[in-house]
Amino acid sequence: MDFATLLQMLDATLRLATPLLLACLAGLFSERAGIFDIGLEGKMLAAAFLSAAIAAVSGSVWLGLFAGIGASMMLSVVHGLASITFRGNQLISGVAINFLAAGLTVVIAQSWFRQGGRTPQLTGDARFNPIDLPFAEALQNVPILGPIYYELISGHTILVYVALLMVPLTWWILFRTRFGLRLRAVGENPAAVDTAGVSVIWLRFAAVGICGILCGIAGAYLATALQAGFVKDMSAGRGFIALAALIFAKWRPWYALYACLLFGFLQAMSLRPDVIENVVGFQVNGQFLDVLPYILTVVILAGFVGKAIPPRAGGEPYVKER
């Protein structure tokens, strides 16, 4: 494999890792606050649809992005009501949200656009277009670093950079602010937070809300940046891969970045079977690469490679003592 191909692969890795990373950080906020969320997939899908639909109608991708975040937030509210207010089962609520999104997006898409459950192709300003970082053209011919800067770092859509910036931001919020400390505490021992006079309900809703925003961006990225429009089931299990990455990263932001880059790299590889064949010398089953994230996660969960310990109060509705 030559240098140019490697750069291409890494470029694809970054693009494919972005929705995973956003969804993974979304799950991180939610689960650190003690709310399991297997509805990441559904929220992404709903956001992907509404962002593409609004962008197609209005011609503005920014309106689309806000609409996508709105769609995702609606589902977050449902999840919050079910799992915080009514103390229902968070996992069942997540399953319901996934199906709700899978069904509603197609039903509404068919009703609005009559194109078999897809939205019209997005063009021009209705999409997030690549932005060239300063001096990318000029530095292109500098050996090694020039192509890296030009091919790999420059020329992505703004959401890619947003996702990357979210990693230090998430770390800072969770580990350097009072809000973050309380948010983590509410996932470990809500009773202690309650005793300190801080509202458990409010904190958990805030976490679920942040989760909704990030899933919304992830979904909008899928439909308006990675691809040009919504198609049925376009999230294609990415919400679950993000969940896998979250466990792989043991609920920590920087490790989430590495896990998502790894899983993104696997996805990029399965798109380029010719490259892998050149490198390893034999044909690798693309299916195998696609499920490798899941297999790796099961191995991690099995505790053979370190132990993944989730937040202690995760999945438990908080009931004030009476």
Binding site: L81, F86, N89, F99, L100, V107, R114, Y294, V298
Partner: protein, 363 residues
């Protein structure tokens, strides 16, 4: 003392939940510019208006009985088996291998063999998540989700490799004639009048009914069932009573996986008579809705499975005759899961308050 009488818990709450789901579904239909009442009439007519419609309704219901029972038995041990989809896929692999490679003399023996094969394959697929839950404490929900994806890949691997029939399509060859299960059309053929013509319902429906009875007996009439239920109510109490958590988790999940796998005798051996990709078509997930609505009781599961069979067949008819896409059924399914599962307390809390105030008024 319970706040509510038992009938309210078993009948009233599910009914209200379904009603809420139905109202919201009707609003969705209204919103996309169709008439909900007309839609309902079309669904009833298409699913229950002819023996052909019934044949499809019962065929779908058979699938959902198996997956619903699978989720139920896991619920009794307070586990959420979300992996019915994958277990049913792998069960299909078992059925295909048994039907293709063993020369069966008669369909009855083939049915027996395929049932055992499907159950073993399904149980094996549930065994690893169960083991990891019991021994390593890995959350069963996460592992079973992962195993759904891995199952799809495994199936794909076999269908483009070892088991592939000649041709382009990733599918096994057609099963031999001897493994053909009697369909309702074969069974209810009285000379001139043939019932269930062309519908896929087959003898597996009765296997599903038997499974309901067997599971009911297992849960409420045996020592093992008692142990499973007590483990589900309180793990610490069960441990104190000398019940091994490892054993209960393993056994409950193996039964669950076996039941989900057994769905394959209906859709793989009974209907398609060959194994194709995506043979399960989401039935594993519908099992969740069915189990929640049926309150994890085999009889409730039967009723809920019939309802979902009706919805499935009715939804297909809707998609055929109106502009309402099939995915509407997924919305209804999601609403049922939401109201009967996650938002249970939303219905329950006001009802409990109502019953409490009624009781006070009486005193």
């Amino acid at each position: 003392m319970d706040v509510m009488p038992k009938w309210a818990d078993v009948i009233l709450i599910p009914l209200i939940s379904i009603l809420l789901a139905a109202i919201l579904s009707a609003l969705v239909i209204l919103a996309i510019g169709e008439n909900p009442w007309e839609a309902l009439k079309l669904m009833v007519d298409g699913a229950l208006g002819s023996t052909y419609g019934w044949g499809y309704t019962l065929y779908y219901a058979t699938n959902f009985i198996f997956t619903g029972l699978a989720v139920s038995i896991a619920f009794h041990a307070r586990m959420f088996n979300i992996g019915g989809e994958g277990q049913a896929l792998i069960g299909g692999l078992g059925v295909a291998i048994i039907c293709l490679f063993i020369p069966w003399p008669h369909w009855s023996l083939a049915l027996l063999g395929a049932t055992i094969g499907a159950a073993i394959f399904g149980a094996a697929w549930a065994a690893i998540p169960a083991f990891l839950q019991a021994k390593r404490g890995s959350h069963i929900v996460i592992t079973t989700i992962m195993f759904n994806f891995i199952a799809a890949a495994v199936l794909n691997y076999f269908l483009i490799g070892a088991l592939k029939a000649p041709g382009m399509e990733p599918a096994t060859p057609k099963f031999p004639e001897a493994t053909h299960l009697p369909s309702f059309q074969d069974m209810f053929n009285f000379g001139e009048t043939t019932f269930f013509r062309g519908a896929p319902a087959n003898i597996t429906f009765f296997v599903a009914l038997a499974a309901c009875v067997a599971l009911w007996a297992l849960i409420w009439k045996t020592r093992l069932g008692y142990e499973i239920r007590s483990f589900g109510h309180s793990e610490t109490a069960a441990k104190y009573a000398g019940i091994s958590p490892t054993k209960i988790i393993m056994v409950a999940m193996l039964i669950s996986g076996a039941l989900a796998g057994m769905m394959a005798i209906n859709n793989v051996q009974g209907e398609a008579e060959r194994l194709v990709l995506n043979a399960v078509e989401g039935a594993g997930f519908i099992g969740i809705a069915v189990a929640l609505m049926g309150r994890s009781h085999p009889f409730g599961v039967l009723l809920a499975a019939l309802l979902f069979g009706f919805l499935y067949q009715g939804g297909a008819e809707l998609a055929l005759w109106t502009s309402i896409p099939r995915e509407l059924i997924i919305v209804i399914q999601a609403l049922v899961i939401l109201f009967t599962g996650a938002l249970d307390n939303m219905v329950r809390m006001p009802l409990e308050r109502l019953f409490l105030s009624m009781r006070r008024a009486k005193q």
